[in-house]
């Protein structure tokens, strides 16, 4: 991170930490200075918040067994062929 300010690229990496409230105070001040003047990063933050809320509110249903088996099989085949993704 830059010494004196956060730029958009850095904010993209810090956004989740910011939303989790897990950021050191010194970094938090830099992040909020950036958010005060960057409408793009405010929009980005809003999109992440919305996504997290939608996922949290989604019903917790397991996929159908055949779909799950097909996914696991495809994953195993991929990792066997190419190594871990």
């Amino acid at each position: 991170m830059s010494v004196d300010e956060v730029v958009c690229r850095e904010f993209a990496e810090l956004a989740t930490e910011y939303l989790d409230g897990a950021m050191p105070d010194e970094t938090l001040e830099l992040v909020e200075e950036h958010l005060a003047m960057c409408d793009w990063c405010r929009d980005y933050l809003g999109q992440i918040e919305t996504s997290a809320r939608v996922v949290a509110d989604a019903p917790q249903t397991a996929p159908p067994a055949p779909a799950l088996e097909a996914l696991v099989g495809a994953f195993r085949a991929h990792t066997t062929e190419d190594g871990p993704p």
Binding site: D25, E33, A36, M37, C38, D39
Partner: protein, 205 residues
């Protein structure tokens, strides 16, 4: 301690989204008490000294009284509690636009200085004659600046574009960084000081 808070329309905190208790019938708003240690950013109420204002521009500016332990951050102060005393009526959309336009003029002048130093005097004169953000934008678009001044000139154009879109806080940021481009960290500090002085004078703070 008397300080200032920039809030979104309706008295809402821009980051906390907390709806501040507003003054009513001439009485201050209710005290807002932080949940913890004022020295810790997350656990404190935030406010601005006059010198901090250019970093935090929002829709509304409020005068606030801070109570308890007050500690200074880089561009803000943190307190254990605060209450709103009055809205600074001079800060509105028109004032924000005047401030943005003034910042464009400053960025333009810094860019013109860069042109002077690059021996592009004619271009510097033409840029200084651009009296409005629209003219600055147009002049920058038509200017092929020598390499040492290219970024500063481009930044002045960016400041104009953002000011024309009403983004005062961004115009101020760009003006400060244009100054930094031309005169280094001291230039940036001087530009932010100029911006604070503009707000202090305009708003009679």
């Amino acid at each position: 301690m008397i300080a200032y808070k920039f809030l979104c329309a309706g008295g809402v905190g821009p980051f906390s989204r907390y709806a501040w208790p507003l003054p009513r019938d001439g009485a201050p708003g209710a005290w807002v008490i932080s949940s913890g240690d004022a020295a810790r950013c997350r656990a404190a109420v935030h406010a601005c000294r006059v010198g901090d204002l250019p970093w935090w521009l929002q829709d509304e500016l409020w005068e606030a009284e801070l109570g308890g332990e007050v500690t200074a951050g880089r561009h803000k102060v943190m307190a254990a509690r605060a209450r709103l005393l009055r809205r600074v009526g001079g800060w509105d959309a028109e004032c924000a636009q005047r401030f943005a336009d003034a910042c464009v003029a400053r960025a333009r002048d810094h860019a013109a200085t860069a042109l002077d130093r690059a021996d592009a005097t004619d271009l510097a004169v033409a840029l200084r004659h651009a009296a409005t953000p629209r003219r600055v934008r147009e002049t920058v678009r038509d200017t092929v600046a020598p390499e040492p001044a290219r970024v500063a000139v481009s930044m002045a154009g960016d400041a104009a574009i953002r000011a024309l879109a009403g983004a005062a806080v961004v115009a101020a940021y760009i003006a400060a960084h244009t100054a930094a481009r031309v005169d280094g960290p001291d230039g940036l500090a001087a530009e932010r000081a100029w911006q604070s002085a503009w707000l202090r004078a305009e708003l009679a703070l």
